[in-house]
Symmetry: none
Subunit: 149 residues, 2 copies
Amino acid sequence: MNLTKEIAEMIISMLDADNSAEIQRNLLAEQIGCAKSQINYVISSRFTPEHGYIVESHRGGGGYIKITKASENIETLKMHLINSIGSEIGEKTLRANIINLHDRELLTESEAKMILAATSEYAFRQIPIEYRNILRAGVLKQMLLATEK
Amino acid sequence: MNLTKEIAEMIISMLDADNSAEIQRNLLAEQIGCAKSQINYVISSRFTPEHGYIVESHRGGGGYIKITKASENIETLKMHLINSIGSEIGEKTLRANIINLHDRELLTESEAKMILAATSEYAFRQIPIEYRNILRAGVLKQMLLATEK
DNA sequence: ATAAATTTGACCTTTTTTGACCTTTGACGA
DNA sequence: TCGTCAAAGGTCAAAAAAGGTCAAATTTAT
């Protein structure tokens, strides 16, 4: 397991009842024994809006980074995603979005798995790279629509 | 016995109780004393959907290749279909097969719907026609394997 | 003797990790 | 009050750590 995953898990375990955690970057980096900027990397790669998180921070003495798992407008989250999918989407972004929807129980485990399988790089192996993200967007949208009742 | 067989057996012996194994390509290649790309060759020739395997991987520090064998009880009819698909399949044939599997209760209504949505001509509309049937075959195989529990 | 399968090696892409340097903010003394 | 300094956090690019691709060379099967 790499550093990034460890740190991400640590942060998630720090989320309180309000689904938010306030961390001190330098302290956390020191505890873990990594570069300070590693914390920023983890946040920017694992706690994005696609993952369902909002991040705020303050510099200076008494500074902090506050990470909150967003919880409003759950009902419209799926429709919002459908509408916001542009003409292309990468595997990472898609994965983040689907896991987020599953976390919020807007997709069943089975639905999430099928979507990830259908849009995996392996499923698209036979076609040129330049079409893959376009395809992912098209397939994803149709599948999400199919999960609407 | 050739390298490929040895490596394939090694990987199979590494499957755990969940029928999955996480390997480190470079490490494995070094242990065996072969080219790194040999590992890829083994995977792409022996751990295909036709053989009942799902493969995922991650690059970068802490990277890995995860190989999962679809559960034993994947219905033979499904495996038959996966094996009979070949490298291309048209929308009509696919539809007929999915309906058949659904009729036999090997696919839930939801699974069938998602497969049809994901492989519809509409989902592929941005992609040149000559790729569509190839794509359908790839996506269908991955999805069928993902329908097990 | 071909054709198919295997093996290798050179080179590519993605993701993570680190470190040097930058910016913002609060506190404190002149 | 203002200026300066220390305490945070932020940015960016290079290095490192995986895994991926492709085609040529070699071996094995038909």
